[in-house]
Amino acid sequence: MSVPLAPAVSGGRVRALRASRAGGARERPPAGTSRTAGYFFVALYVGLLLLLGIAPVVYAIYLALSNSGGFGANFTHAFNDYRFVPAFEHIIEFVAFWLISQTVLVVGLVLMLHNLEPRVGAAFRFLFYIPGALAGAASVVVWLFMLDPTASPFAFVLHWFGYAQFDNTIAPSNLPVIFAVMAFWTGAGGWIVVMYGALNNIPTELIEAAAIDGSNAFQTALRIKLPLIRKWIIYMLVLSFAGGTQLFTEPAVLGQAALGVGVSQYWSPNQLAWFIASQYDEFNVAAAISVVLLVFGLLIAAILVWRGRFFEVD
């Protein structure tokens, strides 16, 4: 759950965003329906939203701000923790690797798939999508095996890099790349499906016109298809960035392999917040870190929603 958005969910999110714009403006609830009925239908959901969406956020902010040391003391405490800056450095490194490789590879693969026979393309898409079922701890365990040079089917690749033992592979400096590979593996297939759908939106006349004008498949992909799915690429980047900052599962599970001495219990900011809460009972400081992370996520979500016009396709 932590890094890659469940691929299926991200697809639905795209859909939801578009529909919100289209639906919000176009459709009006029918006149004559009673107003109280609406409240009744949304009541349970609103209750859950208040208790499990709004209340925890308000409470975390309250905890983060309340301290005998004065306003903002928890934040100062958190920022001055010797583990705080490294945790954010780790995350930035990981997100950079992940976003760059995911963008290049997803876009490249989907443009290639789109040139294949529809049936063949569908088969590939499905194969790429399957690892999404393993999101969470399961995919990390799978990659424990893949990164173990003694048993991995990819051992020859690991040997190229000079890794003969598991602890060579998971050296601390490799961790951002390793987490990026895991995130790519579970998440890319979902994005490929979404992008493929976006490519299918491009009118065939446009592609045919380009072909008549002498454009080859490569030029068409680069000059026509790519610009038309640009918005989806940005959408993927923004959502992945927001998700990436929250990394928790991958380092928490990998750290359980004791050979992975490089994976500390506070490798990522979310881990650090949990570590401070669970080991020192310093809930106010933990709340301060989680508020920082929340602000990241909320800001990105709010920008996407209120500047959603950006993502309007066609």
């Binding site: 639905g12 639906g23 409470y59 799978v142 089917p153 709340a287 929603v305």
Partner: protein
């Protein structure tokens, strides 16, 4: 002149696709084959060799009986948390989507916007605040600390909202009202029967999200008897000799597991989701593409 070059490009393209197919699919094939081998065979045989069915049986028994059948307890816990959360998510999301799409009330647009924001915000960002809240009210370590957050599923509300606003003809509802149906009757007898596909889709997404969730149960459960499978898997890594050799020094009473056992546990953990994935592929992909295809 153009022809050979074109073929060369095609070949390169095909090679790239095959490399990535291997990257995506080889780990899964390897995983499925690993429990048929012993730890020694895992090293000596080809990664894609099939061991034997009897080894598979032994591996299965060893994992299931490990530590007083912990795995079965975790499986049961995962099922309780996931089904409980999914049921709540569907119960809340379907009427809410209907209410947002087809009724009118003050605050409807605001609720819609908040739902979108919470949906797009990474769910992980809420985990620690949820822990702090649950800790305050004393629910940490109870099933409610998981079922309630799993049941809060804004994405499902949105899916239902889109479904109801785009597929149910308003005239149909109006006709039912003219015929004397009240608002509940319209929902119960007209909208719900028409909404079967979306109920399935919301249930599926809610189930997968709950089943695969790691961070939330990680902070909410503190006893192995409460763990869902995802947390149990992590525990098993600690019992696997290859990854934690120091745990098994002479005289240690910890039961030792090996790599094939761990692979078997992963298969058991992902099986429910994998089966749904394989059998509902068409529906799933349609669901994912619903927004991306032309109306």
């Amino acid at each position: 002149m153009a022809l050979p070059r074109r073929y060369a490009i095609r070949l390169v393209g095909l090679a790239v696709l095959l490399v990535f197919t291997a990257l995506f699919f080889v780990p899964i094939i390897w995983l499925l084959l690993a429990p048929t081998k012993t730890d020694g065979q895992l090293l000596s045989q080809s990664p894609f060799a099939f061991g034997s069915l009897s080894t598979l049986g032994h591996t299965f028994n060893r994992v299931v009986n490990y530590d007083g059948q912990s795995l079965l307890v975790w499986l049961k816990n995962s099922a309780i948390y996931s089904f409980g959360g999914t049921a709540l998510a569907v119960l809340a999301a379907i009427p809410a989507g209907y209410g947002l799409a087809l009724t009118h009330f003050i605050g409807r647009k605001t609720l819609l916007s908040i739902t979108l924001v919470v949906m797009i915000m990474p769910a992980t960002a809420l985990v620690l605040p949820l822990f702090l809240e649950m800790n305050k009210v004393g629910l940490v370590g109870t099933i409610w600390s998981l079922i309630l957050p799993f049941g809060f599923f804004p994405f499902g509300v949105y899916l239902a909202y889109i479904y109801f606003s785009s597929t149910i003809p308003k005239d149909l509802l109006a006709a039912a009202r003219i015929d004397g149906a009240n608002e509940w009757g319209v929902f119960r007898y007209i909208a719900v029967p028409l909404a079967r596909p979306i109920i399935g889709l919301v249930a599926f997404f809610a189930f997968v999200a709950s089943w695969n969730n790691f961070f939330l149960p990680f902070v909410m459960t503190y006893d192995t008897s409460q763990y869902p499978l995802q947390i149990g898997l992590r525990q098993l890594i600690g019992s696997t000799a290859t990854f934690n050799p120091t745990n098994f020094t002479a005289g240690s009473s910890v039961e030792v597991l090996h790599r094939p056992d761990l692979a078997m546990a992963v298969i058991i953990a992902i099986l429910p989701v994998l089966i749904v994935f394989l059998f509902s592929q068409r529906t799933l992909v349609q669901g994912m593409l619903a927004g991306a295809t032309k109306e």
